[in-house]
């Protein structure tokens, strides 16, 4: 199945095309705040360079984040409208899983980390590869480095953009030298590969309902919820 994958959760347009397990294109363009103005031009050039048109694409994959909230919305909106307009199916993939995919051959627990952009906060998830398939262990983690260090009980491969920086930060909080590092950034081809595997086995998302994986609520909502909890606690106390 020929699948187009898009991830805009970081500061780049990551766009790739695969045919089943074969990568046809894997394109990463730093965009910073030009993600929206570049995205369709980049999709178009990736397709054209491979002699393809959008009608040749049989399914879509899109990186759901976590990452830049504004960034993810561009990719998710473009992905779902591509699927809607062409009538093809789509599968959303966690960007943490996309990062972890790079460590699939290392036979170790993989910890993928993405900067949550607010000081020392990070998004993280643990993955284990069994029978050539990725399995997420536990829920997503949103918090600080010491909290994440407390969750690490065995040798891991740490995958992230700036992976060595995170290893050093984690090692400040735990006595261990069993952290291997692997640099990894979002890849459109990996999004497409993972999506293709799902789509080929008939697993697809509801196109119109597809939504980003934010993992954190907006500041305003967090504030109101905190206020509510305090009010409830005061009532009970």
């Amino acid at each position: 199945m020929r699948v187009l994958g898009i991830d805009t959760s970081g500061y780049a347009n990551a766009i790739g095309v695969v045919d089943g397990e074969r990568v046809l294109a894997d394109f990463v363009l730093e965009t910073r705040n030009e993600s929206l103005s570049r995205i369709m031009l980049n999709v178009d050039s990736v397709l054209k360079e491979n002699g393809l048109s959008i009608e040749d694409i049989e399914g879509f994959g899109v990186g759901l984040g976590p990452g830049s909230w504004t960034g993810i919305r561009i990719g998710v909106t473009v992905g779902k409208m591509l699927a809607y307009c062409t009538g093809k199916s789509i599968k959303g993939i966690s960007t943490l899983e996309v990062l972890a995919y790079r460590a699939r051959d290392l036979q170790k627990l993989v910890c993928a980390i993405i900067d949550a952009g607010a000081g020392e906060t990070i998004y993280a998830a643990f993955y284990r590869f069994r029978n050539n398939e990725m399995h997420q262990e536990n829920d997503y983690y949103v918090g600080d480095i010491p909290g994440l260090a407390g969750l690490i009980k065995e040798p891991i491969v740490l995958v992230a953009d700036e992976a060595p920086k995170y290893r050093d930060m984690i090692l400040d909080y735990m006595q261990s030298n069993t952290i291997e590092v692997l640099q990894s950034t979002p890849s459109g081809a990996v999004v497409a590969l993972l999506a293709a595997a799902h789509l080929e086995s008939g697993e697809r998302d509801d196109t119109l309902a597809l939504a980003p994986l934010y993992l954190k609520e907006s500041t305003a909502r967090a504030f109101v919820n905190k206020y509510k909890q305090r009010a409830q606690a005061a009532q009970q106390g």
């Binding site: 929206l36 103005s37 178009d44 909106t77 907006s218 305003a220």
Partner: protein, 339 residues
């Protein structure tokens, strides 16, 4: 020509089908009011998230209700200028994708130009040139509409938008959100002459508005009673405050119309749904021999039909955008559309 319009500049996710710039086949508006009510205003991040969830459904419904399919769409118009950046980009990302796959022209529209077209969509007989007052929670703007897509910016607010003043007063007295409809309702049971609030810049021979001082004056007049827990004559306050805002809006618009020697004025935007505003405008304009036009209520607040109509007019003039179209959260109408 069948144009699909998309509008996501603030807190309404909207898509519409408009044929030949005149006939509204569908105009779907998913409002997020309930989502923002508890915050007393629109929260940009919450709005942007909701747009992303709703955009596909709203476009799909616009096609369904209009009895058309994607293949019938001949152009895409989208609000790309003026609004919340995170909200705007959801609409523009969707519009670009549609334009790319369907291979139809794309046009980015200025939100205020959409409001100007809302009035022409509702009232095809609205003459050109005319003076248009766009008044909403985010805007208070006087524009000399010389021709389709030819504008002269006459003036606007130097501080709060009129609708913003409604929202802030409503929030202070806990009357509900959005403030405009809440005050409009309450005011019908109040005495508009109970209190005399200032009419800022009413007599000044300029086309500029200021509502910040009026808002402060109203709040200061009742601060002590409210702090002391006294019951307030909320109906009278609402009616008197509304009267002050309406007086200024009407007087300034008529002043601008006379200055530009036009015989017609249009009033658009969310606040143009206000009943007292319509009443006073009609009386004052008729006394001056000026015709006044308002959009249908469904076209007063943010909607995609007006964006489709404006986009149609721009396309008819040979204008279109390419795939590099980006959002511009804050840009004056005149700079974009002069000449």
């Amino acid at each position: 020509m069948l144009v699909l319009g998309i509008e996501t500049s603030c807190d309404e996710t909207s898509a519409a089908l408009v044929a030949d710039g005149r006939t509204v086949l569908s105009n779907i508006i998913a409002t997020q009011l309930e989502l923002h009510r508890k915050y007393g205003g629109v929260v940009p991040e919450i709005a942007a998230r909701r747009h992303t969830e709703l955009i596909g459904y709203v476009i799909n419904e616009a096609l369904d209700v209009g009895g058309k399919t994607l293949r019938d769409v001949e152009a895409i118009a989208v609000t790309a200028k003026q609004g919340l950046v995170g909200s705007l980009l959801v609409g523009v990302a969707a519009a670009k994708t549609l334009s790319y796959v369907l291979r139809v022209p794309l046009i980015g529209v200025h939100h205020i130009e959409g409001h100007i077209f809302a009035n022409m969509l509702s009232n095809p007989e609205l003459p050109l040139p005319h003076v248009c007052l766009t008044v909403s929670g985010g805007h208070t703007l006087l524009v000399h509409v010389q021709d389709h897509c030819r504008y002269e910016l006459l003036g606007g607010t130097v501080d709060d938008a009129a609708g913003e003043a409604f929202d802030k007063i409503a929030k202070f007295f806990d009357l509900g959100f959005p403030g405009g409809p809440a005050i409009d309702r309450l005011a019908t049971q109040g005495n508009r002459k109970a209190f005399h609030f200032p009419r800022p810049l009413l007599k000044a021979k300029t086309n500029y508005f200021s509502f910040s001082g009026l808002k402060t004056a109203v709040i200061n007049a009742f601060k002590h009673q409210l702090a002391g827990g006294e019951a307030l004559p909320l109906e009278d306050i609402a009616a008197s405050f509304q009267e002050a805002v309406v007086d200024v809006l009407v007087a300034k618009t008529i002043h601008a119309a006379k200055e530009r020697r036009v015989s017609a004025v249009g009033v658009t935007g969310g606040v143009s749904a206000n009943r007292r505003l319509r009443e006073v405008f009609s009386e004052a304009c008729s006394a001056e021999g000026i015709n006044v036009y308002f959009p249908a209520l469904s076209l007063c607040t943010d909607n995609a039909a007006m964006i489709a109509a404006a986009g149609h007019a721009r396309l008819a003039r040979g204008q279109a955008d390419d795939m590099s179209l980006d959002v511009i959260p804050n840009v004056p109408l005149e700079v974009q559309h002069a000449g």
